[in-house]
Symmetry: C2
Subunit: 377 residues, 2 copies
Amino acid sequence: MNLPNHFELLATDGAARTGRLTTPHGLVRTPAFMPVGTAGAMKGMHWREVRDAGADIVLGNTYHLMLRPGAERIARLGGLQRFTGWGGPMLTDSGGFQVMSLSELRKVTEKAVTFRSHIDGAKVELSPERSIEVQRLLGSDIAMQMDECVRLPAERADIERAMQLSLRWAERSKRAFESASDGYMLFGIVQGGDIPDLRHASARSLTDIGFHGYAIGGLAVGEPQAVMLSMIEETAPALPVDRPRYLMGVGTPEDILEAVARGVDMFDCVMPTRNGRHGMAFTRFGQINLRNARHIDDPRPLDEESLWPAARDYSRAYLHHLVRAGETLGAMLLSEINVAYYQELMQGIRAAVASGTFEDFRTKTRAGWARGDIAPM
Amino acid sequence: MNLPNHFELLATDGAARTGRLTTPHGLVRTPAFMPVGTAGAMKGMHWREVRDAGADIVLGNTYHLMLRPGAERIARLGGLQRFTGWGGPMLTDSGGFQVMSLSELRKVTEKAVTFRSHIDGAKVELSPERSIEVQRLLGSDIAMQMDECVRLPAERADIERAMQLSLRWAERSKRAFESASDGYMLFGIVQGGDIPDLRHASARSLTDIGFHGYAIGGLAVGEPQAVMLSMIEETAPALPVDRPRYLMGVGTPEDILEAVARGVDMFDCVMPTRNGRHGMAFTRFGQINLRNARHIDDPRPLDEESLWPAARDYSRAYLHHLVRAGETLGAMLLSEINVAYYQELMQGIRAAVASGTFEDFRTKTRAGWARGDIAPM
């Protein structure tokens, strides 16, 4: 059964696309980067800073939220957007991926995943139906089907088994989502590891089931970038052209630029905030390690042409000091600088695709990263 | 020799005072509370939030800053106000107190304190002259003399010896400060523990030496509140009426209210940010522990009548969740809520003294704290 389409494709340039996704909590301009607010908060940032940085949508982790403070509780408190004060569009993952990576004693059966909470050791069962129920309780604008993701490299038999299980879970997820209110969306997830024919089969079957949008899962799990890009090339053209395409858990600015060039519309990654907490800044000069001694006496800002005030107003010497001293403000400033850089990149991509100059933008942006940081004083 | 006076007493109400201190980096309304930005940053807060909360002046710790990033380096980078981006008035302590509390292998002689840095173990000597030199390099608007502070309870002989040493260091500090630029200030520090005649002697001798302002040191170091207040009562009247009086390292909102009632003009304390990091909120209902389970389902804000947005806009349930989950945002929100509450208290005190209604304000404020938090839902 086909689902209503809330995505509008505005322009294409080669395989790159720009569009607009309408959610119950607002519009999302694509290509979109979703900063990750794991447990209902963006680490080191106020929500107003996330919005000011240019993010239209953020991601919340179902696994964390279902364990604490609990989906039923968040529902009673008005849903995730109201509970957190973010107010805008939110996408939630299914929880399945983090069950695999964070919990102990997990057991995967056809019916569900059983695991022990990493918080209090309680035994929890997460089925495709419960995952959808939790995401609906959270009030997620975009829910994700539960899937099984296999780390690469892996044997074909294992990849195929997980892909087929994910397809059966996709059907169950869709049935569980049937009674959802108008405007809320459910995305299917393409699996198939690094094997083209499995990717094709997964994409075809998911399209037959029919979702509001489609994610490419099971990448950025240990494979080289070339393999990831090649799998996107295999998968994206096999997905309906009029639906949004979301590459899960990716990535560096370069990953994003290259994935956009291959037809991806949405991204999420913890990298801007996590690397920010470790003293790394993303800039048009590439990644800069503020912990490095070369910055200790440097009165210049990170990037005097940045659109984000903190990248212009604070000296490298001060940022270096904050990082070295372990001051929270260092993590706060670098997290916002990084989220803002990612959003500046997305805005540049959107404008370039809309004006048919994406190749030029891509070349110039990559050249800037390749040149590297400004020379030491 | 008398020093120029930059303090203007605007009104008194009983022993309580309100006034205005002019510093090279701006005006300070008194009674003033100085949030503590230990190592050139306010933990969990942006500088704009410190200003928005109503702080006119902040405190920096000489001990931390001299060890990292170093006073000469900060001077080259334009001074502490420019280096940090705070831009407004800053007071620095002498470094002596933290040498005693944080470093190992310290040795106190007439000449100086020698210690090992808690950062890299390097051997450092801090004399009264070097302390003043460091504070002048930092560009501190208000420098403090180096003193020796004795933890209470202590023997009279120990208290007297430290008080006399502090007086000799006061004279050396003043000489070292003589060539400072116009408008920059040096405060002497009254010692004498919990012994009235030693407090009187210290205050008298410091007044004879002559400083821009006078601090009451050696309190909030383990003694009961009644002893602290009694020592303020002994000391404040012995200080020049036209000069600012600063009670170092104090304290709770109640401590501050009671010290103002006894003639104190300036305060500093890490409590608003430190307690904020530990899930505690200061409010007109007293201190509230957000970690407490009573808040887990409470959709009400901390204080719907607060002047600070975060105290009105976020539910207790969300703050509780952030604290329990260890999210940085919890520490950030509670730190700013607390600094803002302290500033709201100071603004209330200033207005009450100016209008001759301080006793009424004091009674009502204490009654609010005594009533405690709103009833659970």
